[in-house]
Amino acid sequence: MADIHLDRDLLTMLQEVMGNEYPVLLDTFLSDSEERLCVLRKAEDAVQLMNAAHSFKGSSSNMGAARLAELCHELEQCAKERKLADIEKLVKKIDSEFAIIRPLYEAERQRSLSE
C-alpha cells in the first residue's frame, strides 16, 4: 500500500538527478517539512495557513509525497474558503501522514546509502 504515500517512479528519477546528493535531498526534505508542520500548527490567520499549505504542497509533490501533497491541497482550499472545522481535521491528517512517510523516506535514504 506504500504507493498511496510515495511515488516510487518519481523517487527513482530524483535519485538519478541527484546522484550522490540524493540522501542529502531526502534529509533536507524531512527537516524542511518539520518546519512547515510547525508553521501549519501555529498559523494565526487563513492567509498564512493558505500560503504555508501551498508551499508544502509544492515541495511534497516535488518529492513524490503524493498523499501529503493531496492533503496540503485540500488544506489550501479550506483555508481559502475559511472552513475552520475542516482545517483542524486536515492539519491532524497531515501530521499523521507525515508520521507515516517519515520512516518511509528514512528507509529510502538507508537503501540508497547502502547501494
Partner: protein, 567 residues
Amino acid sequence: MPSLESLTILIAEDSAADRMLLSHIVRRQGHEVLTAANGVEAVESFLQQRPHLVLMDAMMPVMDGFEAARQIKLLAGETLVPIIFLTSLSESEALARCLEAGGDDFLAKPYNPVILAAKIKAMDRLRRLQATVLQQRDLIAKHHEYLLNEQRVAKAVFDKVAHSGCLSAPNIRYLQSPYALFNGDLLLAAFTPAGDMHVLLGDFTGHGLPAAVGAMPLAEVFYGMTAKGYGLPETLREMNAKLKRILPVDMFCCATLLCLSFQRRSVEVWNGGMPDGYLHTIATDERKPLTARHLPLGVLSPQTFDDRTEVFPMAVGDRVFLLSDGVIDTCDGDEQLFGVERLHQVFAANRQPDSLFEEIERALRDFGGEARDDVSMVEVSLLEAAQLSPPALVYSDSGQSCPLDWSASFEFRAATLKRFNPLPYLLQLLLEVHGLRAQSSALYSVLAELYSNALEHGVLGLDSSLKRDAAGFARYYLQRNERLDALQNGYVRVHLQVMPEGKGGCLIVGVEDSGSGFDVARVLERPLDGVRLSGRGINLIRQLGRNASWSDEGRSARVEFFWEALA
C-alpha cells in the same frame, strides 16, 4: 544538448529541498546556478550577477515572487530576462498574476527535467531574439542617423546650388517639402541674359540619395546654359545627354521646362513625363493643360531626343501652374488616388488665384491622404517686364585684356540654322567688351529679336500676323518647326563691329537674311507702344538699341550700342 550555450540561471525558491533539487537539474543541463531563498535575495542577486534567466517561486517570505519579478523586469530594462514561475498554482487568476508581474512562462511542480530543459531552451531563444532585435534596432538607428547626416550635408550643398537661381523672384510661388530633393523632386528657376525666366520642375525616379544625385548635374546644366543665353531646346538636349550618360538605365527625370518671356508675353513649354501643367488665362478663367509630349530626360539617346517646345501667349497676370505626381497620386485610406478629376474640382472652386495652393493642400488633407513629402507645386505669373529685376551678372576678369577695336562676320547656313543657336556664343564674345556688360540684357534681347526675325520671317518666311490670337500662336510655332525641319537653303549673317570712341565705345550690329524682306515703312508706322509686343519685335529693337534701321527691303537690319567711359 548541442548548440545550447551555458546560461547563468537564478533560482529563487524558499523551500530548501525544492531549491536543491532544481539547482541539480539545472546544473546537470549545463548551466551556472545562482540561488535565492526569497524575493529580496533574488533582486539582490540579479543586481550583482545579472543572470540570463530566472526561475521564480511565487510564494516566498520577505518578498514574494510577484514583486521580485516586477523589480527584476524593471532593472533589466530593454534586455529580455525571461522569468519562469515555479508554481503549483492552478487557478487561472493566480496564473494571470504571474503574467502581470512580468512572468514569461510557468513550470508546474513536481518538476519534470525534460520539460524544464525545453522551457529554458525556448526562453533562451526568445532572449537571443530580443537581443538581436535590440542590436539591429540600434544599428538601424545608427545607420539612420548616418543617413540623415549625409542628407543634411547633401542638402546643404545642393541648396547652395539650387538657391543660386531666382526662386525668390516676386512672380514665383512654390511649395516643396524641405527634403523634397530626396524624393527626387527638383525645382529650379533662373533668368536668361535677356531677362526671360527659365523654370524647371523635375521628378527623378526613386527615392533617397539615388534620386538626389542626378539633381546636381541637372542644376548645373540648367543654370550654366540659362545664364549663357541658351534657349530651352539646347538646354534640354544638353540635360538629356548628360543624364543619359551618367544615370543608370532605370533612372531618369520627368521634367517640365518653361521659358517665360516677359517682353514677348509668351511661355515656351516642354513637358517630358510630368503630370499636366496648366496655363491659367485670368481674363477667360480658362486653364489650358500643358500635357507631356515627350519621354523624360535621360531616356532617349541624343540622336532620338525630341527638343520641340510649344509656345503660348500670356497676358500680364496669367499664371502657369506646375505640380509633381505626389499631388495626384496621394492615396486615401482605401488606396484611392486623389486624381486629376479632384484637382480640376479644386480649380473650378477656386476664386482667389492666390489661395490655390492652400486649397489644393486642404483638398489633399480632406481627401484623407497621408501627408506626403513629395508634393511639389509651383506657380509662375507673368508680370510687366519692368516689375522684375534680373540680378546683375558678376564677372571675375580684370578688364585688362578687353578687346576694343575689331569686327567679325558670321554666316549661318541652313544645316546650322536647323540645330544651332549662335546667340550664346555671340553674346559671350561681345561681353568680353567691358563697356557692353552693363547693357547685356538689352544687347541680348536685341540680338535675340534680330536673329529670330531673320530666321523666322526672313529665312523661314513665317507670317507674324498669325500670332494675333492664341490658336494662331500655336499654328505659328508649329509651322516654324516644320519649316525648320525641311530647310535646305538660306542663311543668316551677323556682322559685329566694335570701335573705341573717346573714352567709351560703340558696337554696330548688322543682321542680314536670305528671305524676301518686308515693307519697312509700313511696319515702322505703327505706334511705338504696342501693348502686345508680338510681330516682328521691331518696337523692342527700337526701344532697346540706338539708331535701328532697315535696308535692302527689310533683309538687312542695323542697330548701335554706345557706352561711356567706365568708372
